[in-house]
Amino acid sequence: MPEQLFERRNVLVTGGAGFIGSQLCDRLVREANVICVDNFITSGVANIDHLLQDPNFEFINHDITKPLDLLAFTELERFKVRFQGIQEIYHLACPISKRHFDDFKIATILTNSIGVKNVLDIAVANRAKVLYASSSVLYGPRRDATPVRETDECHLDHLTTRGAYDEGKRFSEAILQTYADVYGFDVKIARIFRTYGPRMKIFDGNLIPDMVLSALENKDITLTGDEETRISLAFVSDIVDGLVRLMATPIDVTLLNLGSDADQRLVSVAQKIIEITGSASRIRFEPPGPYATEAPLPDIARAREILGWIPMVRLDDGLRRMIEYAKSHRHLITF
């Protein structure tokens, strides 16, 4: 229906087959043409299987550290990219793997520099708005219970084995800021705090999936830290909602924390998981390793004021959905 062409905006989602990215695609495809770019380096096709039939969704297998020419893809012709251009870019692509972090260090460095540049060059060419999925890691490790604000100074050691990711995210933000200065266009930065939910990789050493798997198998749940260790947990649908709202803000809004400001005791989360799964697991504690640092708690006053956003999904409900997902996927070797 050509007359409806411009009623649907063209949206590019990089890292769109990932945990958060795929659920962002689910949400956007209701109202927009979604071009999902991913190279499955740490994501999986299973996350977008259900979208591949959707006429408003198109997947492109591409490594974002290589320049991307959308016009070269014939499968995008129905989105009329040549005439309509791209209106919005959600840039989520970045290798993320707890277990295999070392395998992706160089890819991480390149994604956080050349990858961001390539995406921003598309944005400049299309005069598109860009939203960059940044991370709470750039605030450095948690020092006390004070929530961090967007204006806080960030203290972190950029020469550690985590530097490729942590400092990389800082440099990515610097690239965005520089492009915004030089080209005067609309960039958004969402600093995303610890998020959990369905489609999170379940055999990759991630905290919540690991606890759930142990509970389902009645194995001991090993927690790093002690009774007082606390974490912040946001459910993925809340984060997706925050991202979409941030994209809709005017040009003067740039930077926001997105996460949960409820400081959960880790041991209570484990107990809830045991309760919901009816597991016989017991909880053990182990001392933290040298690089096991917890991100700080976010101050989300800005998101609340500007977006009217707060995390809505209760921990109980979120955990139930996470557990359902883990139950149905733990026997599938999907990735």
Partner: protein, 341 residues
């Protein structure tokens, strides 16, 4: 130097070798009997800095933007360095645009140099198993701290990655991270020289660096312009000192980690201006203008590590350094100032 010397001379690549510090480094390396390949694209440097080296058989200049991938073996003028067989032993990576006055103009280039350019150099180091010395900067620590403490190498630093300077400040941090990551993944032997404010002959004129302009204007009896006010303080290291430091760091044992090079003496810039007026017997006056974004006070270095690990200290006193810079300016005055604005 390799454990078993199989060549008569070491092959050394100096990026940014036509720059202010880079050109002095090239001279010193040649004097130490190395073969020097100098790569530069004259973005904020100039050909006149290396004019005197072009006749030297051990020196070769290639005009190259390091942000574009390049293969040294493809340059016919480098054939006599026998790179295919002798490889490259050391890379001094200094290339990065620096211009207080034209900072805005080079923002994108700064981003590229600190990411794509750095990557290209590190890939070359992997290929040749060469040692890399990366010329980093005191800005990775962030601005001068409120308590005035000198920066130590193990400090995390705090840089605002969303400031208008972030392409340089955060970029330099990221470049260090690239070095650390290549060391972790590919075992590249990387050395990080964190260089504090440096002065001397061949600094670009009329570009906001202050000291070279002070000298030129004092010689012409024109006003000396300070971008800031009477309280503007800075440390100043003479260029030959940092060159010595870099060469010592390159020769240091593997795993020395980042090392500060700078002067730990804090001087009011207005005193430097007055001193130059005295030394040149000038009738100039000092005036003040609003500060430049890219000309900030900067912090001071803690030099304990440089002293302990490298036996390095800045040796050239301010008066001696200023005298050398003045003598150079007098000798080259007629030739200087072409590359203005």
């Amino acid at each position: 130097m390799p454990a078993i010397p199989i060549f008569d001379k070491t092959n050394v690549l100096v990026t940014g070798g036509a720059g202010f510090i880079g050109s002095f480094l090239c001279e010193k390396l040649l004097a130490a009997n190395a073969r020097v390949i100098c790569a530069d694209n004259f973005l904020t440097s100039q050909e006149s800095n290396i004019d005197q080296l072009l006749k030297n058989a051990d020196f070769e200049f290639i005009r190259q933007d390091i942000n574009a991938p390049f293969d040294l073996e493809a340059f016919p003028e480098l054939a006599r360095f026998k790179l295919k067989f002798q490889g490259i032993q050391e890379i001094y990576h200094l290339a990065c645009p620096t211009s207080p006055k034209k900072f805005d103009q080079f923002k994108m280039q700064s981003l590229y140099a600190n990411s794509v350019g750095m990557k290209n150099i590190l890939d070359m180091a992997v290929k040749y198993k060469a040692k890399v010395l990366h010329a980093s900067t005191s800005v990775v620590y962030g601005p001068r701290p409120a308590d005035g403490h000198p920066f130590r190498e193990e400090e995390y630093g705090a840089v605002d990655m969303l400031s208008p300077r972030s392409c340089y400040d955060e970029g330099k941090r990221f470049a260090e991270t690239c070095c650390a990551t290549y060391a972790q993944v590919h075992g590249v032997d990387v050395r990080l020289a964190r260089i504090f404010r440096t002065y001397g002959p061949r600094m670009p004129l009329y570009d906001g660096h202050m000291v070279p302009d002070f000298i030129m204007n004092a010689l012409d009896n024109k006003d000396l312009v300070i971008y800031g006010d009477e309280t503007f303080r800075t440390s100043l290291m003479y260029v030959s000192d940092v060159v010595d430091g870099m060469i010592k760091l390159m020769a240091a044992p593997v795993g020395t980690g980042p090392v500060n090079f700078g002067s730990d003496l804090d001087v009011p810039i207005v005193d430097v201006a007055q001193r130059i007026i005295e030394m040149t017997g000038s009738s100039s006056k000092v005036t003040f203008q609003p500060p430049l974004l890219f000309m900030s006070e900067l912090g001071l270095p803690d030099l304990t590590k440089a002293k302990d690990k490298l036996s390095w200290l800045p040796l050239v006193g301010l008066d001696d350094g200023l005298k050398k810079a003045i003598d150079y300016t007098v000798a080259h005055k007629g030739l200087l100032g072409f590359k203005v604005g």
